[in-house]
Symmetry: C2
Subunit: 431 residues, 2 copies
């Protein structure tokens, strides 16, 4: 598309929504991205930047001067500006902050002072807060008369003299009521207040649970310091749930836009850990070389036992990791759910054990071999079921993200126990 016809490209792109321009840039091969962005000129503005995939944005931002980034950041809401600036290294970050207008700088610096992925980073400072003695009419007049207020809000927060939120009022309620009604009679007093240091995953769960559109963020002393709106939460829910898929598989946080070298590094380090555990599992097989030498069929069948354990363990683990991430699995139902997984494993293991036992017994005309593989299959399914739930629970308790490291423990356990139970039983049985 881009072979000198810059003018035409600009004409084609200009009617698009910033999110669509961002998509277009993401689809452009990374070598040509800088060129395309340069050709589009000011069409690639602040809003396009804030819609871009993290990796693609880093790519483009590296090419920009701090002053230009500062200009973009000044146009955006605090939360979007912070999202752009927080990933830069500290020197570049300082250069951008220095180039910002004082009030923007103060807002962004205070947001950056909160921990990453906390409510403080997500919130915006521009919000509408009114005292409780106002009437509906006074609120409307206040909004009409103060043109410097934000015009992007969905709810009005009612605060007391100490600036602590005491109620929330949907705009639709304000609009459907006569001017004379007091705002304090209209507002909803039950509110979901978000502490400024709450983790964004927890914030997202609150939004989902209580179907919130916006929520007040309060500091340690309970004063209103900002608000979070649901459109930012939608991104987080999508990201966090998607992260679990990637992390469970050992692909880290990498999507298809991640620079290839970083992808290789992330995935390789995970694969090397797995290589270590695979060698460990293989060494278990090494103990039984004599048995295998006597009866080579064991080598043919042993991957079935270990592999099926891995499959069953992965099922349980995925359910447990999701249940932990969505707060469904709590201390009050842990024991019940461990028992539940044990019973499922018992049922599945029995059926699979019978199936493989009968099949092997018939194919190799050897009942003993059938019995041994059936027992090993049942045993390894029980290991898989228990490991699938206990490993994520233990990691969560230890403060480690269960999505990141559960898989390596579970599959190592099912591999080792699969080989050990099958080959060990075969040796004991004298096959």
């Amino acid at each position: 598309v881009e072979e000198g016809h810059n003018e035409e490209a600009r004409e084609l792109v200009s009617p698009l929504h910033p999110a669509d321009i961002a998509d277009l840039l993401e689809l452009t091969p990374s070598e040509q991205r800088g060129e395309v962005a340069a050709a589009l000129g000011d069409l690639v503005g602040a809003e396009v930047l804030s819609e871009l995939n993290d990796y693609v944005r880093d790519d483009l931002i590296d090419a920009l001067a701090p002053e230009q980034i500062a200009e973009f950041a000044g146009e955006l809401d605090t939360d979007d500006a912070v999202a752009i600036i927080e990933d830069m290294d500290s020197e570049d970050q300082q250069a951008v902050l220095d180039a910002l207008a004082p009030e923007d700088r103060a807002a962004i610096e205070s947001a950056l002072s909160y921990p990453e992925e906390s409510a403080g980073r997500l919130m915006q400072r521009d919000l509408i807060a009114v005292p409780e003695h106002m009437s509906v009419g006074q609120v409307i007049d206040y909004l009409r008369d103060n043109s410097d207020l934000t015009s992007d809000f969905w709810e009005i927060f009612v605060v007391d003299e100490a600036h602590k939120p005491i109620g929330t009022c949907q705009l639709s309620w304000v609009l459907t009521c006569p001017r004379g009604i007091a705002i304090s009679d209209l507002m909803k007093r039950e509110q979901t207040l978000i502490p400024v240091d709450m983790d964004q995953e927890e914030v997202a769960l609150r939004f989902q649970k209580y179907a919130l559109i916006s929520a007040a963020v309060v500091d340690g002393s309970g004063r209103l310091v900002g608000m979070i709106t649901v459109d930012d939460i939608l991104h987080i829910v999508q990201e966090e749930a998607g992260e679990d898929v990637l992390r469970l598989s050992g692909a880290g946080d990498g999507d298809i836009n991640q620079p290839i070298l970083m992808t290789v590094r992330t995935r390789l380090s995970w694969l090397i850990v797995n290589l270590g555990t695979a060698i460990f599992a293989a060494s278990v097989v090494g103990f039984f070389q004599e048995t295998i030498a006597k009866y080579v069929v064991l080598a043919v069948l042993m991957p079935i036992v270990s592999g099926m354990g891995g499959n069953a363990g992965t099922q349980t683990m995925a359910v447990a990791v999701r249940a932990l991430a969505t707060n469904q699995l709590t201390s009050s139902n842990t024991r019940r759910n461990i028992l539940r997984e044990f019973r499922i494993a018992l049922a599945n293991g029995s059926v699979l054990g019978c199936l493989i036992g009968v099949a092997v017994g018939l194919i190799y005309q050897n009942h003993d071999l059938g019995i041994v593989i059936a027992m090993a299959m049942l045993f390894n399914n029980l290991v898989a079921g228990l490991a699938g739930i206990l490993v994520p629970l233990t990691l969560e308790k230890a403060g480690v993200d269960p999505a990141v490291s559960s898989a390596v423990f579970v599959t190592t356990l099912t591999d080792v126990m699969g080989f050990f139970s099958f080959l060990g039983l075969a040796t004991l049985w004298g096959l």
Copy 2:
């Protein structure tokens, strides 16, 4: 908690938000759930029902009379009522519909006429639509004077004479403008219209991409028939992304609240498919029994090659499935991304091949064995990388959900090719 002290339980629970009461019921063991719900009586109302996990709700609803369900459904928005009714079997559904007030019945019946998981099921019919000639003041008066209008809305839709939406107006814009301004000067003409038969996953992607709070739903002729609000979308994003984790692992759609028999059935059918492919992979090993009998160490090492291929394939597959689900992987960048995965596999395979080759060569003091396993490892990594992206792409093209069935194809391929390449090379090499 519940041993006759029903009054006290009611007192404890009554100040809670419906979503919290729903959580409480979910945490209650399923045997006691009916009892607890009965003890709480009318505290378990329509809103609590609509917040409940699907499986838990089915449990409770089975115990209710159609008239009672109809009463609950009447209190809810169309979309929430539909969510409750759509999972019932058709006889019970009809009984509930018959017991509904005529206008509620018409709304719910028309929602049920749209396909499951489509925009038509998600939307609510109560919305605010105004003609474009109105001024801000007239809109406010219209809202104040018509008390039968919904008071739950975030945007006003502006429609032409044919009831086609021509613009959207945030309530905050209405509130911050003088009464005299024409609504048509205030509204935003660029809108994201949702066709009534659009799949909910696609709807969720639009909401996320354009940061929507609510959106107009239009029928085939472009007329406004309903609206979807972001709070319903949040649930869908959470569900759909979580589903991918569960489906990739073969756990189906089951969470920890699914009845245990259903869980066993879902997981077992997946495990039986895997048992078939595991037996198939094992039969490949069977071809090389003679080679293994001569050199048993091959049996010890072969699971390393197949297992590492499985790990690498799972990484690529997870990234590809997420990229497909979020529309990042499209026809325009497919070739580039296949090439990308090939290069990553080449890099990872080379490193892993060298590591295992040197280790095996040293441990077993056998250079040939080291070279064979290194080559097999590289080859199987390439198979894994290509299968990890090509399998999901092919399934998506064939109209099958790649999250459901990718894993079985990818791991079968990496198992079979792992065994085949390692044992085959060893045979050729004359080990």
